[in-house]
C-alpha cells in the first residue's frame, strides 16, 4: 500500500529528533535511530583519525628514502589498519544505516533489544578509548594483523592496549549482529514475509551471521595473544614449542569472513539505490538474496588463502583456493543482476545513483583482482605486495565506502528531514571517484613489479607510481572533506525534504514519516506487495 503524507506544516511535527533535545535523552536513548546517529558521529571521528594516518603514510611514500623514522611509519600503517578495519569499516553501514533503517524496513517499532543496542555503542566507545590510548601512548607497530611471534615477543609497543581495544569493540559487533538476527526473525510486520524483505535487510542478515559466528574467534585469539605476551607460555613461540602459524589460522578464521562484513552491507545499499533510480525491482531478487547468505557461508571456508606462502600444506591450499573461486560467483551474480536491473529501467543520476554505479565499477575491479590472489601460483608472486593493498582498497573503499556515502546521501532526507545540495554532492562524488582511482590503480602495477607492502622506504624505480598514488590521495582527501562540510551544513540549513523525495518504494519511504517519529510509524504497517513494486505490469518477453 502506498500512502503519501501531506507536506509538513510550518510548525515541525514531532519526530525522533525534536522530541527531546537534552544530552541525557541522547546518551541514554534506546531509540535505534538515535543510536544510529551516535554511531555515525563516532565512526566518522574514527574515519578521520584513520585517514590522517593514511595521509601521513602517503606523504612518507613520496620519497624512496622516506620521511619519517621507520618505527614511526610502522606505527602509522598499523594504526591506520586497526582503526579503519575495527573502528570504521566493520561497524560502518550496519551500525549506522542498518540500525536506523532495519526496523523501519520490516515494519517494526524498534530492534528486538533496544537497550542492548545502546550497550553496543558504549562498548564500541570503550574499545575506541583503548585504541586511542594506544595511539596516545606511542602507537603499535605490529601491523593490524598482529602476527606472532613479533607481536607476542619482539614488539616494544603498546600491543596489549590496542588488543584490548579490538577485543572490546568485537563485542559491540557481536551484539549488533545478534540484535539484527532476532529482529529479522521475530519483528516483521504482518505480510512482511522473508521473500518480501528488502535486499538491504537480507544483506544485513547475512552480515549479522558472520558477525555472530566469526567475531568470537578473533576475540579468543586476541586473548591468547595478550596472555602469551604477558606469560610467555609459548603457544605461538617456536623457541618454546609453539607454532606461529597457528596464530595466523586463528586470526584469519575471523578476519577473512570479516571482509565480507565489510562489503555485504554495501551491496545491500546498492540494491536499494539501483532499484529506486531505475524505478524497477532488482532483477533476480531471489538470487541476490541467496547470494548474500552464500557469501556469508562460503566466506568461512576460505581463510587459508592468506597462508599460501606461510608454510601451509599444498593440499589444504588447493582446497582453499578452489572455495575462494566459488565465493566469487555469488558476488558476480549480484553485479550482473544490478546491471540487468537497469535494462529497460527509467534511470536518473542523482548522487546516490552515482555512488552505486561507482560501486559496481570499482567492486568489479576489486573482486576480479581477488581472483588473481586466489590463483595460487600468482599469489606466490603477489602476496604481501602492493597488489594486495590495491585489491582490498578497491573493494573496501571503492566498494564499501562508496556504498556508505551513497546510502548516507540516499537516506539523508529520511534521517534529517532535509535535502543535501545536489550539485556539491555530485562534485564530491566525482572528485572521490577520480582521487580514489589515481590513488590505488598505480598500486596494482607497483605490486606486480614487486614492491612489498609495509615498506617505509623503497627502491628508486618505484617512485613515479608512488607520487601518482599520493597525488590521488590528496584529491581523495578533498573529496571526503566536502560531504563532511555540506552534509553538516544541510542538516541545519538545508531545504526541508518532502515525505518521499526520491519517490522510492519501501516501508521507510512510504509508510514512515520523514523524519520518523520515535516509534517509526503513525499507523502499524501491513505489507501486501512484493518489494520494489514500482509497476504491477511485467515486461512482455521479460521474465
Amino acid at each position: 500500500m502506498s500512502t503519501t503524507l501531506p507536506l509538513p506544516e510550518t510548525t515541525e511535527r514531532p519526530n525522533y529528533l525534536n522530541v527531546d533535545y537534552s544530552w541525557k535523552s541522547w546518551l541514554f536513548t534506546t531509540d535505534h535511530k538515535r543510536i544510529a546517529l551516535l554511531y555515525l558521529f563516532s565512526i566518522t571521528a574514527f574515519f578521520l583519525v584513520g585517514a590522517v594516518f593514511a595521509g601521513l603514510m602517503r606523504l612518507n611514500l613520496l620519497f624512496p628514502d622516506g620521511l619519517f623514522e621507520h618505527d614511526t611509519y610502522n606505527k602509522f600503517f598499523t594504526m591506520h589498519g586497526v582503526i579503519m578495519v575495527f573502528f570504521f569499516l566493520v561497524p560502518s553501514i550496519p551500525a549506522t544505516l542498518g540500525n536506523f533503517l532495519l526496523p523501519i524496513m520490516i515494519g517494526a517499532r524498534d530492534l528486538a533489544f533496544p537497550r542492548i543496542n545502546l550497550l553496543s555503542w558504549y562498548i564500541y566507545i570503550a574499545g575506541g578509548v583503548f585504541a586511542v590510548l594506544a595511539i596516545v601512548k606511542g602507537g603499535v607497530d605490529t601491523g593490524w594483523t598482529f602476527y606472532a611471534p613479533f607481536s607476542t615477543t619482539y614488539s616494544n609497543t603498546h600491543v596489549i592496549l590496542a588488543a584490548i581495544g579490538v577485543f572490546i569493540s568485537g563485542f559491540s559487533s557481536i551484539l549488533t549482529g545478534l540484535n539484527f538476527i532476532v529482529t529479522v526473525h521475530k519483528m516483521r510486520a504482518p505480510g512482511m514475509t522473508w521473500s518480501r524483505l528488502p535486499l538491504f535487510v537480507w544483506a544485513h542478515y547475512a552480515t549479522s551471521l558472520i558477525q555472530v559466528l566469526g567475531t568470537p574467534v578473533v576475540a579468543i585469539t586476541i586473548v591468547l595473544l595478550m596472555l602469551e605476551r604477558i606469560l610467555h607460555a609459548g603457544i605461538f613461540d617456536p623457541n618454546l614449542g609453539g607454532d606461529p602459524v597457528l596464530f595466523q589460522h586463528l586470526f584469519w578464521f575471523y578476519s577473512h569472513p570479516a571482509v565480507y562484513i565489510m562489503i555485504l552491507p554495501g551491496m545491500g545499499v546498492v540494491s536499494e539505490i539501483i532499484a529506486c533510480y531505475s524505478r524497477k525491482g532488482i532483477f533476480g531478487y531471489g538470487f541476490v538474496a541467496f547470494s548474500s547468505v552464500a557469501i556469508a557461508v562460503l566466506g568461512f571456508m576460505v581463510w587459508g588463502h592468506h597462508l599460501f606462502v606461510a608454510g601451509q600444506s599444498m593440499y589444504a591450499s588447493m582446497v582453499f583456493s578452489f572455495i575462494s573461486f566459488l565465493v566469487a560467483v555469488p558476488s558476480a551474480i549480484k553485479v550482473f543482476n544490478w546491471t540487468a536491473t537497469m535494462y529497460k529501467g527509467s534511470i536518473t543520476f542523482d548522487t546516490p545513483m552515482l555512488y552505486a554505479l561507482g560501486f559496481i565499477g570499482l567492486f568489479t575491479i576489486g573482486g576480479l583482482t581477488g581472483l588473481f590472489l586466489a590463483t595460487m601460483a600468482i599469489d606466490v608472486h603477489l602476496t604481501d605486495t602492493y597488489f594486495v593493498i590495491a585489491h582490498f582498497h578497491y573493494v573496501m573503499v571503492g566498494g564499501m565506502v562508496l556504498a556508505f556515502l551513497g546510502g548516507i546521501h540516499f537516506w539523508f532526507p529520511k534521517m534529517t528531514g532535509r535535502l543535501y545540495p545536489e550539485m556539491w554532492a555530485r562534485l564530491a562524488a566525482a572528485i572521490i571517484f577520480v582521487g580514489f582511482n589515481l590513488t590505488f590503480f598505480p598500486q596494482f602495477i607497483l605490486g606486480y613489479l614487486g614492491m612489498p607492502r609495509r615498506y617505509a622506504t623503497y627502491a628508486q624505480e618505484f617512485q613515479v607510481l608512488h607520487v601518482l598514488s599520493t597525488a590521488g590521495a590528496s584529491i581523495l582527501g578533498v573529496g571526503y572533506l566536502l560531504p563532511l562540510i555540506y552534509l553538516t551544513w544541510a542538516w541545519r540549513k538545508g531545504e526541508r525534504s518532502p515525505q518521499n523525495p526520491w519517490q522510492a518504494k519501501g516501508l521507510e519511504w512510504e509508510q514512515s514519516p520523514t523524519p520518523p517519529p520515535t516509534f517509526n510509524f503513525d499507523v502499524p504497517p501491513v505489507v501486501t506487495e512484493r518489494p520494489y513494486n514500482y509497476s504491477e505490469e511485467v515486461e512482455v518477453g521479460g521474465y
Binding site: D110, L178, V212, P216, V217, V223, L224, L240, F519
Partner: protein, 226 residues
C-alpha cells in the same frame, strides 16, 4: 499463602511487555532466540581454544600424556557431578517459576548458586594445587620431566585458559543467579512472566555443557595413553 500465589503480585507489578513488541509471545520468542544466538557466539568463543588444544594435543602426544597425570580427576569428577546437579536444580527453579511458586523458586535458585560456589571452591583448590606444583605458566613454571618442559607449559597454559574462561563464566552466572534471587524476593516473577529465569537457566545449562566437554578432554583422555 500470599507469597506463593503470584497472580496478585503480577497485577501489582508494572507491565512487562516492552513497547516495541506486539505481544508477550513475540517478546518471549525474541528473548529466547536472542539467548540461543548468544550461546552460539559462546560456542565459537570457546571453540577457538578447543581448536588450539586439539592442535597441541596432536603435536605433543607424549607431553600430553605426561601432563594428564597432574590433573586431579577426583576433584574434576566431583565438579562434574556438582555442575550436573546444579543444572537439575536450575531446571527445577525454572519449573517453579513456571508454576508461580516463589518460595520453591528462591530455594532452587539458592541451591544452584551454592552448587556453583562449590564448583568454584573446588576449582580454587585445584588451581592452588597447581600453584604449589609450579605448574602455572609464566616465570615460575617448573616441570618434573625436563624434556617436556616447553610442551607442558603450553598444555598447562591451555588448561588454565580454558578452565579459567569457564570459571569466569561461572562467576558471571553466579552473579546473575543472585540477581534472580533478589528479583524473585521482590515478587518480580509470576507464572505469566519469568523470562529472565528461563534465559539465565539456558545460560547456566550452556556453561555446564562446556564443562562436560572440558572434563573428558582435559582430565580423562590422556590417562589412557602411555
Amino acid at each position: 499463602m500470599a507469597d506463593t500465589d503470584l497472580s496478585v503480585a503480577a497485577h501489582a507489578a508494572p507491565t512487562t511487555l516492552k513497547h516495541h513488541f506486539d505481544d508477550r509471545e513475540q517478546q518471549l520468542e525474541s528473548s529466547t532466540l536472542g539467548m540461543w544466538v548468544f550461546l552460539l557466539t559462546e560456542i565459537m568463543f570457546f571453540g577457538g581454544m578447543f581448536g588450539a588444544y586439539t592442535v597441541y594435543r596432536n603435536l605433543y602426544p607424549a607431553a600430553f600424556a605426561s601432563t594428564s597425570h597432574y590433573m586431579n580427576v577426583t576433584l574434576g569428577a566431583t565438579n562434574t557431578a556438582v555442575l550436573i546437579f546444579s543444572s537439575l536444580t536450575m531446571a527445577l527453579a525454572v519449573r517453579s517459576a513456571q508454576l508461580g511458586q516463589k518460595r520453591a523458586l528462591i530455594s532452587f535458585l539458592t541451591f544452584t548458586l551454592i552448587l556453583g560456589l562449590v564448583f568454584l571452591s573446588i576449582k580454587y583448590v585445584e588451581y592452588h594445587e597447581k600453584w604449589v606444583d609450579h605448574h602455572i605458566p609464566g616465570p615460575g613454571f617448573h616441570y618434573a620431566e625436563p624434556q617436556y618442559f616447553h610442551q607442558a607449559q603450553i598444555l598447562f597454559f591451555l588448561y588454565f585458559a580454558m578452565t579459567g574462561l569457564h570459571a569466569l563464566h561461572m562467576i558471571v552466572g553466579a552473579g546473575l543467579i543472585i540477581t534472580l534471587i533478589a528479583m524473585a524476593a521482590r515478587n518480580r516473577f509470576s507464572s505469566g512472566w519469568y523470562t529472565p529465569v528461563e534465559m539465565i537457566g539456558l545460560y547456566w545449562h550452556f556453561v555446564d555443557i562446556v564443562w562436560i566437554f572440558l572434563f573428558p578432554l582435559l582430565y580423562l583422555i590422556g590417562r589412557t595413553m602411555r
